[in-house]
């Protein structure tokens, strides 16, 4: 009996593992199909511990030469700042000083507000950095969604656990919540205005022509 229970549990585990791998694959395939953009809104905790309203615009051109741009709308103090991430480089634009800081991808900090927003556009990379598992299903205004939990494989990622809602009908993220080790919410963001868009690398790399360019290695 015990043997059968063990096999059943093992099979269930395998099915669950396959499921999360399959969901990851579906999300990745869906997001890689064509360029897209979305708005993320919610709350984030700043390094000083205060919680702020947050709004980011995320634009992604998938493919071999993936390019992503995150524009900050809120908090108001960061409005006008943006980050552009390519395979090789990370650009950070600071509005207040009109500076564009260019760093190699390997060294560039993209985490910013405790979360690497572009990971949400690259699910394969997210699953490499975070151990994901399927928690169940949930009904959302957008439709039925998978509830996925995750624990970072690398503790330096800045959070202790994450939860993502993925829309089943059109496999893409709907919401993400990050918590620290005390279970406090570090970021609680939901996706809205998701749409396929005709994005070009030129548009994603758009910056003020007179910005001071600083290359940091």
């Amino acid at each position: 009996m015990k043997k059968w229970l063990a096999i059943a549990l093992l099979s269930l585990g395998l099915v669950a593992a396959q499921s999360i791998a399959e969901i990851t694959r579906q999300v990745q395939a869906n997001l890689e199909r064509a360029p897209w953009e979305a708005t993320l809104t919610g709350k984030v905790q700043l390094p000083d511990g205060s919680t702020q309203e947050a709004e980011f615009r995320l634009q992604v051109i998938p493919g071999k030469e993936q390019l992503a741009r995150v524009e900050f709308k809120k908090p108001a103090a960061l409005e006008g700042n943006f980050v552009v991430i390519s395979d090789k480089e990370v650009w950070n634009y600071l509005f207040l000083t009109n500076q564009l800081i260019i760093q190699p991808r390997a060294k560039g900090r993209v985490e910013g507000l405790g979360i690497n927003l572009t990971d949400l556009g690259d699910f394969e990379q997210l699953s490499e950095r975070v151990a994901l598992r399927l928690l169940g299903e949930q009904t959302t205004p957008a439709g039925a969604a998978w509830r996925i939990g995750g624990v970072p494989k690398d503790p330096s990622l800045g959070f202790a656990s994450m939860e993502i809602l993925v829309l089943k009908a059109d496999p893409r993220p709907l919401a993400i919540t990050l918590r620290d080790s005390s279970n406090r919410v570090l970021a609680d963001l939901s996706f809205s205005s998701f749409r396929r868009a005709n994005l070009t690398p030129q548009a994603l790399r758009k910056r003020p022509a007179d910005a001071e360019v600083l290359r940091r290695n």
Binding site: L78, N92, T97, P201, Q202, D210, V213, L214, R215, N217
Partner: protein
């Protein structure tokens, strides 16, 4: 043209450094009626720091700088430089940072000779100088700016400068402000905006009152490699003017401030920090 061996030795050092250098800038500077001088500038990484070296006919300057980057949240940069020449010596330090809605910078320096005698690109003033700058975002569209300066020249004469400005960003940015430079009062009017879809950008600032100065800069993107065409113009009364042109590593600066000068430069970039 000074001692040619200085250039030979320096060029050899720079050539040796070139393997790891980030950039080398070769220049020729002439100011009538003085004889011209070659200028050399090099930057190279030194661990977490950047070493900057600059040389002209009769002076050498060495600087060290670094920064801490906080992605879109901000950054902190700092550096120091020492210069030594036949005319005298100079030291300067700077620290500046931006975090969230605040940006601030502090620069200070002392020179025992006119700074232009230690580096042709610097002002023809010596002694102590301290500059403090700050910017604060009142709202996503409004920014307050503050500039304070203090100088005590080699003759012991002190002078101060203060500017307060308000910038409103709509499609274009409009700046209004007031300033005082050594007891001369003036108003500040500024405009900055894109002129076309390609992103050509014009910035013009007019200081008008007991002091007149117009500064204008036009920047046009040339390609996707961050190359720009830059045109800079400054005109001031009492009469002084500068005109600058920059593209693909070439840079030409002409100026008049009682005497004419011309500085031609070419920068070789090897990637890495700048």
């Amino acid at each position: 043209m000074g001692n040619p061996w200085v250039y030979v030795a320096t060029t050899a050092v720079l050539a040796w450094c070139a393997g790891s250098a980030q950039s080398l800038t070769f220049g020729l500077y002439a100011r009538l009626p003085d004889s011209p001088t070659l200028t050399l500038e090099a930057t190279l990484p030194l661990g977490a720091f950047d070493l900057e070296a600059r040389l002209q006919r009769d002076a050498l300057g060495l600087g060290l700088g670094s920064s801490l980057e906080f992605s879109a949240l901000g950054r902190l940069s700092y550096g120091a430089r020492a210069s030594l020449g036949f005319a005298g010596w100079g030291v300067e330090g700077r620290i500046g940072g931006t975090f969230g809605p605040v940006a601030a910078s502090l620069e200070t320096g002392y020179s025992s000779a006119l700074r232009s005698q230690l580096w042709v690109g610097d002002e023809a003033e010596g002694g102590l100088k301290v500059g403090l700058g700050g910017r604060y975002r009142l709202s996503p569209r409004e920014t307050l700016g503050l500039g304070l300066g203090f100088k005590r020249n080699l003759a012991g004469l002190a002078s101060g400068l203060g500017e307060l400005s308000y910038a409103l960003r709509q499609e274009q940015t409009y700046t209004f402000g007031l300033g005082v430079d050594d007891s001369r009062l003036y108003g500040i009017l500024g405009w900055r905006g894109e002129l076309d879809e390609a992103g050509t950008l014009l910035e013009a600032t007019l200081r008008v009152g007991q002091l007149w100065r117009l500064e204008a800069a036009l920047t046009a993107p040339l390609d996707e490699e961050l190359d720009n065409l830059k045109l800079r113009l400054t005109a001031a009364y009492p009469w002084a003017a500068t005109l600058g042109l920059e593209a693909y590593g070439f840079r030409a600066d002409a100026s008049y401030d009682g005497g004419f000068s011309l500085w031609l430069r070419y920068t070789l970039s090897f990637g890495g920090n700048e």
